[in-house]
Every structure is written in structure tokens, then in C-alpha cells.
Chain length 152, copies 2
């Protein structure tokens, strides 16, 4: 293990919120930042698909396919950021996230399932299927936000 | 297209920075937020791999494999966030990002290549290979940060 790498690795780990005293624990504020980052990137890659599905921008098969492929892993990331340790942190997460964990987990799984279907549809390249699947993903986003996110 | 979905889709698109007047254009501050989100999630999923490679936490094949699989798509995301339109935004990106675009592109490709190798190594499950590949990823992170990111 050469020293420059060790320094870089530790810097990366520290910047990712691993406290020097307990590398397996991530601090609550960092967990919030990470789960918000997930939402930001989901927005980046779902936004154009939503607009295509809504007929607001022209359908672009290449963009649809790339974005859906990115959304599939993104949809699975950082749910662990909604850890009970974060319940006192400033964010738009409603108390229901921590009080109705089974229902919140269902909402996560609904999104993951609908995104998997979107990614499959995008691979097939059928425009109508992609748009229908994107609409379902949009509804999954909205349903979860309605129940678990403070209104903007 | 039902109305609840249309509303949700437009809300998602707007929150992702698509100006209502030009849905194909994302605002510079949003591009910065998106590329920072990418870095945050890369940190989340690379952090433990870096610590394993550095011998600071025990090797965990399951975590290594999941994190490497997440890093592969993440490494390809949001490079478009380093758009020239963002050169005036507050961030840690150095002017070199915009002045030395070919070199910056090379640094991106180095990371993507090294992360692909890490993901392959993680699939193989060989601890020494995973650690060596993680060390290379750490060096790719550090090299790019040295040249293109302001010192913290």
C-alpha cells in the first residue's frame, strides 16, 4: 500500500463521513447529504424521461435508454440514509419515514420495481412502452413524496 | 396521460433544473448540484472500499461487490455537469476544468476505466484483486482532484 493512495483513501473516506474513530459509522448529516444526492441524480436522469412521457419534449431513444440504465442502480442507492439516527436532521423527510417503516420500505420497493420495468422497456426500445413505464415511475415518485416528504 | 402524473412529471423536471421555458437546458447551479451529488455518492460507495484496501476495516466481499457495482454507473454520470456555463458558479472546480478540457476528459476516462476493472474484480470475488483495483481507483480520484479541484 503506497502512501499517496493511503492518504487519498483516508481523505475519501473522511469526506464520505466516516468518522476517524469509527469507520463503520456514517454521521447523520452525511447520511442526509447522501440520500439527497441520490434524489438529485434521480431527478437529473428521470426529468427528461418524465418530460418525454408527458409529451413536453420529443422522444429520444438514446437518452431514454441511457437515463433508464442509470436510474436502475440509482433507485437502489442510499435508502440506508433514512436511518433513525437522522430523524433530528434538517431535511424534507417527514416523521412518517421513521414511524411507518414498513410502508416506507414498500414505497421504496415500488419505485425500484417500476424503474426496473422502465429499464427493460428502454432496452426494448419501444417508445409507447417506455413512456408508459416512465409514467408509472413518476407515480411511484409522487406517491412516496406525498406520504413521506414535506410539501415544498 | 393522466393529470396527477403530468403534474408529478413536471414537478420532477422542474426540480431537476429544467427551466420551464427551455426543457433541454439545465441551469448552471443545478448542473453543479448534480455533479456534486455524483461525487457525494461516489464517496459513499468508494469510502468503504478505500478503507478495506488500506486495511482500515475488514474486507467484506458482499459490501465490496455491491459498492463496486454502484460505482460503475456512478463513474459515468454527470460529467456533463462540468459545462462551461458553470464556470462562474461557486464550487471547488478549478479553472483547469474548463481550460484543459482534453486533460480533464482523460482524467474522467481513467476513473471510468479503473472503476470498470474494480467492478470486474469484485465480481470475481478475489480479495487481493479487489484491493489492488480499489487502490487504482483511489489514485485516479486523487490525480484528478490534484489537478482539477481546489484544495479543501
Amino acid at each position: 500500500m503506497n502512501r499517496p493512495f493511503l492518504v487519498a483513501a483516508l481523505a475519501a473516506a473522511l469526506s464520505a463521513g466516516y468518522a476517524a474513530s469509527a469507520f463503520s459509522q456514517v454521521k447523520p448529516d452525511q447520511l442526509v447529504k447522501q440520500r439527497q444526492a441520490k434524489m438529485t441524480l434521480q431527478g437529473k436522469y428521470f426529468g427528461p424521461l418524465a418530460l418525454m412521457a408527458a409529451g413536453k419534449i420529443p422522444y429520444n431513444a438514446e437518452v431514454a435508454s441511457r437515463n433508464a440504465a442509470f436510474l436502475e442502480p440509482l433507485s437502489k442507492m442510499a435508502w440506508d440514509g433514512f436511518d433513525p439516527s437522522t430523524s433530528g436532521e434538517k431535511s424534507n423527510a417527514l416523521p412518517a419515514v421513521f414511524q411507518e417503516q414498513a410502508k416506507f420500505k414498500q414505497a421504496q420497493e415500488r419505485l425500484e420495481g417500476d424503474v426496473t420495468k422502465l429499464a427493460s422497456a428502454a432496452k426494448s426500445g419501444n417508445e409507447a412502452s417506455v413512456k408508459a413505464a416512465a409514467a408509472d415511475v413518476g407515480k411511484a415518485c409522487g406517491a412516496c413524496h406525498d406520504n413521506f416528504r414535506a410539501k415544498p
